[in-house]
């Protein structure tokens, strides 16, 4: 079923359509939250918040083409709110995604998915070492695949700024990966 039809059925209140939408995009929501928060337990809770928000405001999504950017925008806003609260009230314990297996011991959790390839884990760790600005632009452009125009509108900066930030962030990420490999940046 194409996304437009799925969204339309969700708007009519069809639970089956909503379940399909959740299953189709839960990985994107969880991945987005995890890349922002760096904590699997918190990312799991926030991913649920993303879907609750989507459920409440699905009517404001104008078309299927804009659904993913719209979802990312919602997720980004929720993540930023969560990070602000976290900075105001630091958590005593953080749960990295590697320990997510403890949260879902009876099923192959995200840690299992992440650890399928050491290369992805390496890149994941390199992303975590980036600055907030570099990590966000890597997340939005390289991982989520948003266009420069969409990112510029989301961040409220000119396209040229997004482009230069993206170039710098990619170089910084390559250097971080190289450092983790034991080389020199």
């Amino acid at each position: 079923m194409d996304l437009e039809t799925l969204i339309e059925r969700c708007r009519t209140g069809d639970p089956l359509a909503w379940e399909m939408l959740v299953r189709r995009y839960q990985g994107r929501a969880f991945g987005l939250a995890y890349h922002y928060l760096g904590n699997a337990e918190e990312a799991r809770d926030l991913a649920q918040e993303i879907f609750v928000r989507i459920y409440e405001r699905l009517a404001s999504c104008t078309s299927a083409e804009t659904f993913v950017p719209w979802m990312i925008r919602i997720g980004r806003n929720l993540c930023i709110d969560r990070l602000r609260r976290r900075r105001a009230r630091p958590q005593a314990v953080t749960t990295p995604v590697e320990e997510m297996v403890d949260l879902a011991a009876d099923a192959p959790g995200p840690a299992t998915d992440l650890e399928r390839g050491a290369r992805r884990d390496l890149v994941q760790r390199a992303i975590a070492r980036l600055s907030d600005v570099n990590r966000e632009v890597i997340l939005l452009k390289e991982i989520e695949g948003l266009t420069l125009q969409e990112i510029a509108e989301m961040l409220g900066v000119p396209i040229g700024t997004v482009k230069s930030r993206s170039n710098r962030a990619r170089i910084a990420l390559a250097d971080e990966v190289r450092l983790l490999l034991g080389g020199s940046a």
């Binding site: 991945g31 405001r57 404001s60 997510m100 290369r119 170089i171």
Partner: protein
């Protein structure tokens, strides 16, 4: 060798030279795989055992010496070109670089191992990063989301398409805007943040915030009292001032008309006698003129007396039934304002 083994080998060889045997095996795989061939091209200058593309001008200058000389010259002139290469590498990885920049960058990469490693990593990251977009949570995740949304009403399809005030209510900043407007209105009504300055005791704050309301109520009561008094004063003025004045005016007008009528009679008498005396005198009838003259002299005192007698009539005395007042009231008014005719209430009010 498959693509995964190819990528792993390249990762392990980052920054290191590739032996001839490894290069051969890599090249064998890349020959049948365009994607791996593109990755290998980034390693080719190091893996390639052939001479560099640009032959040295002098065969007597070894390759290592030539590179060292180039670095020394660059260090004394423009500095290293790695920074500029780093600016171009992302576009190079995206295939968005112009022909001239691509050629210049390729020449730099052929001699700079560090930038070559960066270029390789950027190409590899371009493949890995999109795979990180989805991280599947555990199987219970979807069930929990459905449980959290099942008790809610159906997706608010009608909210965003509803009336303007419904859309206004669902705006993200609506609560903040309402709070701001409410605070502004409260500040304007109560006269600012006065209660927060100085003594912050609850009693003072309560008194400060309640006093404007009490003031408004007191002013309202005073306004009602003034209006009531003004209404009573108007009734009294109408009853005690304007109606008596109108009555007096009507009395004066009647007396004046009567006086005019009586004075006219006197004057007509005088005129008749004077005319007869003049006629007799002009005709030489002196006796007649003499008699008339004496009659005229006798008539003048009578006319004067008659007029004086008429003046004894009080012109302020009401003559119509509506103008009649009680005798004591008329008497007191006559004593209070015998000349002007204004009623006492008006004089006392002044």
């Amino acid at each position: 060798m498959n693509c995964r083994e190819f990528a792993d080998r390249l990762d392990r060889l980052l920054g290191d030279a590739v032996t001839a045997d490894e290069a051969r095996r890599l090249r064998e795989h890349a020959a049948g795989c365009p994607r791996c061939e593109r990755l290998l091209a980034l390693f080719e200058p190091a893996a390639d055992t052939c001479p560099p593309p640009m032959s040295p001008p002098s065969a007597a200058l070894p390759h290592g010496t030539r590179e060292a000389l180039t670095r020394e010259i660059l260090a004394r002139t423009s500095g290293t070109a790695c920074q500029r290469a780093a600016e171009l590498l992302p576009d190079h990885a995206d295939g968005a670089l112009g022909a001239l920049d691509r050629e210049l960058l390729a020449a730099h990469l052929s001699t700079c191992r560090s930038c070559r490693a960066r270029a390789l990593l950027l190409a590899r990251l371009g493949e890995i990063l999109p795979q990180l977009a989805e991280i599947e949570p555990d199987r219970a995740f979807a069930a929990e989301v459905l449980a959290r949304t099942s008790h809610r009403t159906a997706p608010a399809a009608g909210v965003a398409r509803g009336s303007w005030w419904q859309r206004l209510l669902y705006r993200p900043r609506f609560a903040l805007e309402v709070a701001f407007c409410g605070a502004l209105l409260l500040t304007l009504v109560t006269g600012g943040a006065g209660p927060l300055v100085g003594d912050p005791s609850p009693g003072r704050i309560a008194a400060r915030w309640s006093s404007p309301i009490e003031d408004a109520h007191r002013i309202w009561r005073q306004g009602a009292s003034v209006a009531e008094r003004a209404g009573a004063l108007g009734d009294a003025a109408r009853r005690d001032v304007f109606e008596p004045v109108a009555e007096h005016a009507r009395g004066v007008r009647g007396w004046a008309a009567d006086a005019t009528r009586r004075a006219g009679n006197v004057l007509r008498t005088l005129h008749t006698h004077a005319q007869r005396a003049e006629t007799a005198a002009s005709k030489g009838e002196w006796a007649t003129a003499w008699v008339v003259w004496h009659e005229l002299r006798a008539a003048l005192p009578r006319a004067w007396q008659q007029t004086a007698t008429d003046e004894t009539t009080d012109p302020t005395e009401p003559e119509t039934p509506a103008m009649r007042l009680a005798p004591e009231q008329t008497e007191s008014r006559r004593r209070a304002a015998p000349r002007t005719g204004f009623p006492d209430r008006m004089q006392s009010d002044r």
